[in-house]
């Protein structure tokens, strides 16, 4: 359980210089998530175009792990469909739970969070952005496609 496994350079960089920080004006989906134990509070907003996530942003405040995870997550889901994004989330949960596997291919920068699996109390921080992303998706699969695409 070395701190270096947790606070990697990539995490610290995303934390101090987050990507996609902000709010989308007229998002297709958005959601807010809390982590009661440390007060993390994150908002995720998404813009769907042509069946894929064209833009993703996050705002709110939290610890390095939750903020870096949100920064990386918003990078990753861009260009993905809702179903692809949900698959990524599943992969991510697997990784931070400590399951074995090669996650680098699909999860990109997010593998920097693999060390979280050795810090059980921090798993909730790492997954917050992803859970909030999933919460933003409508339960009804039909609604998960963007309306703009339907109009065409």
């Amino acid at each position: 359980m070395s701190l270096n496994d947790l606070f990697t350079e990539i995490i610290l960089d995303h934390y101090q210089h987050p990507h996609n920080h902000g709010v989308i004006g007229k998002p297709t989906f958005s959601s807010r998530g809390f982590n009661e134990s440390c007060g993390d509070d994150i908002q995720v907003s998404l813009l769907l175009q042509n069946g894929v996530i064209a833009d993703a942003k996050f705002s709110g405040a939290g610890c390095s792990i939750s903020q870096a995870s949100a920064s990386i997550m918003t990078d990753l889901v861009k260009g993905k469909s809702v179903d692809e994004a949900k698959k990524l989330a599943e992969k991510f949960y697997e990784m931070v739970k400590g399951n074995e596997g090669d996650f680098g291919e699909e999860l990109g920068d997010a593998v920097a969070l693999q060390g979280v699996s050795k810090f059980p109390v921090r798993v909730k921080c790492a997954t917050l952005a992803w859970h909030t992303l999933e919460e933003s998706f409508p339960k009804d699969p039909d609604l998960r496609r963007d309306k703009s695409a339907d109009k065409k």
Binding site: M1, L3, Q16, H17, A61, G62, R122
Partner: protein, 414 residues
């Protein structure tokens, strides 16, 4: 004077030491560790005296009942309540405060009545009033915090009105360590014709408490924060008020006569103790008080204040630290933030050094907003801590600050 081998009384420290992971426990405001005397008392109770109380007419039940009632007497003596019958056993301070809100509040408050709380209250002294407010339409007002993290008594006076029915404040803040002038607050409340409620969760464990001197109508506390077992807490109530009040929970023990659709109630404190109480918990709490009284509560207070002051001074030398603690009075609680390091990250870094502190809103979200922080880190000291713990803490904090030192944006990977 404090013995310097107190740590030995608490088996958890030796256990972790023997596992090669010494424990530096600085989260006693959340819950304290338990001395061997308390642990052994529980063991002895269950192995020798276990029976239900106030119900059986056989010897074992009488022994258990006597032990349970002696615990009540012990608690009464500890906070100088005028008589044992003015002590109600509850699960914790939270239940004690809810008991007041429901049994007194729900039955006595009307739309437009006012309750005065303060800006530094724990959720346990806020949410119950929110619930009662939803049922009755009462109005909540707040005593303001001044820039030295103390309550502004002028603001209390300004909040008073003919509709003020209660003033309910925390004795010692679990975030700031501020010791509030409760005697003065009670006097002001009483002059205005309001009852006075004190949340003593952070005072009973840490200083001599005299409810008669304070003059309050209610005083709530938790056993697990004062070396006692989990599951037991208490409420002191002025006896005449307890007598007038409707009960809270209904069930066995708290009744006189029960008919199919009505019932009448036993005298306090039994009126407020429905069902089988945490008998072992009460007896364990008695053992905790015995332990603390042996040390002496004045010694506890002196020691903690000194250690708290020392810690505040030592931590104050760390770059970028902000300490939320009154300049003059302050107990063994030291809350802080460090620039660029989130409290949750601080806590993880300390944990890897064996130091247990708490990071979060400390069940005081309105206070966090007032302090304009999302959360803080909090080190809370108790009798088993000493200056060497402060050194380890300070060293680990310096490491945290170093890890999170601002750096230039890296080239974006991939």
């Amino acid at each position: 004077m404090m013995r310097n081998d107190i740590k030995k009384d608490f088996p958890i420290f030796a256990k972790w030491e023997s596992m090669g992971k010494p424990l530096i426990y600085l989260d006693s405001a959340a819950t304290t560790q338990k001395p061997q005397h308390v642990i052994s008392t529980l063991d002895e109770y269950y192995s020798k005296f276990n029976a239900n109380v106030h119900r059986g007419n056989y010897e074992l039940s009488q022994l258990a009942t006597d032990m349970y009632e002696e615990a009540r007497t012990k608690v009464a003596h500890f906070i100088n309540a005028p008589k044992p019958e003015s002590i109600i056993f509850t699960r914790n301070a939270t239940e004690s405060l809810n008991l007041i809100a429901y049994a007194w509040g729900l039955n006595n408050l009307h739309k437009g009545d006012e309750i005065i709380l303060s800006e530094m209250e724990h959720h346990s002294n806020l949410v119950p009033w929110h619930i009662i407010s939803r049922h009755t339409g009462i109005v909540l007002k707040f005593i303001k915090l001044n820039s030295d993290f103390q309550l502004d008594l002028e603001s209390l006076k300004q909040n008073l009105s003919p509709r003020t029915k209660a003033v309910s404040v925390v004795h010692v803040s679990n975030v700031l360590g501020t010791i509030n002038p409760v005697k003065e607050i009670v006097r002001i409340a009483h002059e205005a014709g309001a009852i006075a409620i004190i949340d003593g969760a952070q005072s009973a464990p840490h200083m001599p408490v005299d409810v008669q001197d304070i003059g309050c109508d209610f005083y709530a506390f938790s056993g697990h924060k004062m070396c006692g077992p989990t599951g037991i807490g208490g409420l002191y109530g002025r006896y005449e008020l307890l007598e007038e009040m409707e009960p809270f929970l209904g069930g066995g023990e708290m009744i006189n006569e029960v008919f199919p659709t009505t019932s009448n109630y036993a005298k306090p404190p039994y009126k407020f103790e429905a069902g089988t109480p945490d008998i072992a918990g009460a007896i364990g709490l008695k053992a905790a008080i015995e332990y603390l009284e042996k040390i002496g509560m004045q010694n506890v207070e002196d020691y903690e204040i000194e250690l708290g002051n020392h810690a505040a001074k030592r931590l104050g030398s760390i770059e970028g630290i902000h300490i939320f603690r009154p300049r003059t009075t302050g107990t063994g609680v030291v809350s802080f933030t460090i620039d660029n390091v989130h409290p949750h990250d601080i806590s993880t870094i300390l944990d890897s050094a064996g130091v247990a502190i708490r990071a979060g809103h400390h069940c005081a979200q309105p206070l966090m907003r007032k302090l304009q922080v999302q959360s803080t880190a909090r080190a809370s000291f108790y009798i088993y801590n000493d200056e060497s713990d402060v050194e380890v803490l300070a060293g680990a904090l310096e490491k945290a600050a170093a890890i999170f030192k601002p750096r230039k944006k890296a080239d974006v990977v991939k």
